[in-house]
Symmetry: C2
Subunit: 336 residues, 2 copies
């Protein structure tokens, strides 16, 4: 039975009112400014506008909550990555700690240089040297043992320039952004070239990102019953490199959905940004550009760690949002 006209009109008015309420709700959120560490301007406006579009039920660009997936690179996007990736600093510290058990390292590169304090010389061996350092220091124990080592290092070791714990070297505006997206129904993932087991012990506490939402590089592990207890042993063999073209692969394998927003800062994030933004629909691709030598670091096309070259060019072509840390961020670190 067709409802009387009066009821029908009421129904229509109700739908309209709902939309108005929703829109007002959206505005109210903005007014309390969940992004208070961001300067007002084009970049902040692009973020807020994207979130409004995909979360407003009356919007043609509305995205249901389960599909609101956002992926964040870690090094250089959520926390700093200079003077070198923090995980590499951790690995160098481990070499020093393990040296007494490895007298043979005195004559073996890259360890010999490292133990003489010549980091540059040790890393001159390039990717091969770095992989050897990582595999040597990150394997040969159970996952639980490795986690304990990471926890202790993270709780005690300080950044050489800023004198703060590495977990304090996180960008306040990005913490706000992660929380803002979550408050708007997003599931926020880390998708990093960093080691998955190096990040998981602290990402929940620092970023509010639980272990099951951390995607990263990994080494192979082997299950074994030892003295009646099940253990996972870390093997000196790479399992997966979650970098560059590996990021969409990792995202697909772990999440099985395509993100609608992706955040990075280097060429390692190029393919993740392409995967996220170039298949139709309103999408947000964002690059953090390190432009603030005073409060943090300034680098892009010519740097050993966190090179931003191709992805910066691609950002212009694809209209990705580019954040200038110097101009767009009111604060960088909480301790400043």
């Amino acid at each position: 039975m067709r409802p009387p006209i009066a009821f029908s009109r009421l129904g229509y008015a109700y739908v309209l009112a709902s939309c108005v309420l929703l829109l007002t709700g959206g505005c109210a959120t903005v007014q309390t400014d969940p992004l208070s560490a961001w300067n007002d301007g084009k970049v902040k406006q692009e973020i807020v506008s994207f979130v409004a579009k995909v979360t407003t039920q009356c919007s043609p660009d509305y995205v249901p909550v389960p599909e609101r997936i956002a992926t964040f690179d870690n090094d250089g996007t959520l926390w700093a990555e200079q003077p070198m990736y923090f995980q590499l600093i951790f690995a160098l510290d481990r070499v020093k700690a393990l040296a007494p058990q490895h007298p043979e390292w005195k004559d073996k590169e890259p360890f010999a240089s490292l133990l003489k304090g010549d980091v540059k010389g040790a890393l001159a061996g390039g990717e091969k040297a770095i992989v050897e350092i990582l595999l040597t220091t990150h394997t040969g124990m159970t996952n639980a043992e490795f986690e304990a080592i990471v926890r202790e290092w993270v709780a005690t070791t300080k950044h050489p320039r800023f004198g703060e714990l590495y977990t304090s070297m996180v960008y306040q505006p990005m913490l706000e952004l992660v929380a803002y997206l979550r408050a708007n129904g997003f599931k926020t993932y880390i998708v990093s070239a960093g080691g998955i087991e190096f990040m998981r012990p602290w990402t929940e506490r620092i970023y509010g990102v639980p272990p099951e939402q951390v995607v990263g590089s990994s080494i192979k592990t082997r299950f074994e019953m030892r003295d009646g207890r099940p253990e996972l042993f870390r093997l000196p063999e790479i399992n997966f490199i979650d970098d560059k073209a590996g990021k969409p692969v990792g995202i697909n394998e772990f999440i099985g959905r395509r993100p609608i927003a992706a955040f990075g800062n280097s060429d390692g994030d190029l393919e993740m940004l392409q995967w996220t933004t170039m298949s139709g629909g309103v999408r947000l691709g964002l690059i953090v550009h390190h432009t603030d030598a005073e409060r943090e670091y300034a680098y892009d096309r010519n740097t050993e760690f966190g090179k931003l070259d191709q992805a910066l060019d691609a950002a212009a072509v694809n209209k990705w949002t580019v954040v200038s840390m110097k101009d767009d961020w009111k604060r960088i670190f909480a301790f400043q």
Copy 2:
């Protein structure tokens, strides 16, 4: 300042009252019987008692919500796996569909036997033959294309004995159990030897398990920009086998937390059950024993698909809950 005794007593009474309320709440939940397809008895009691222990805040065995991880095998645990794994039936169907494009298959095993209708002959080649059939039928296209093929097959193909869609071959008591755990704050994961991309297109609709909570076997994929669009191509190379000792490895890689409850039905689930239950704390390990030839199938130690032998012995030693489908389940399939 120490509070006056009256206030202190009031506080104590309040805590007690909270506990009573919580316990009552627990009882109320049981009274509505979210497990109505389960016969009353020891097995059902063990499940309910476990959930009460880990979810009652006053219990010494209380587990906070984020750590309530439950992992479910799929084949033979959530849906049937006879007369053979459904994904293998899918692969055989794909061989037939692709045969016109592969005239060379007429003279090449295992395809030649298959195309003559001799499934037994084709599978006589063992694991090697099965892997060849799977790789041939599951790769050589984009992930999106593969997903479309799976969706169509799942929507149209019926089980040879029961004449129902494969997605109707799911166990009602297990659907109840998955929902019951979720209602009690659990995150429910599938951890299956089946292909991750074969399951993800329908697990959310059938089990309420979203793609990001499906762990499974996978082939390698390659990211590529093609005609300006990002694609993931499926390569004829195995990436990960999520079976036996691979299950704890997969759980650790994808979830990064140890489950507190695990559900399986075959020797392929043994290590997942060990990993889940044998490291202290109140844990639930459960095995579905196929004992009902009339309503489903009866098999355990001697079967080609879903062999339950070592894990059945381990269940007795480790006090895992063993479900007899015949005795413990009031209903099996919704269509019965």
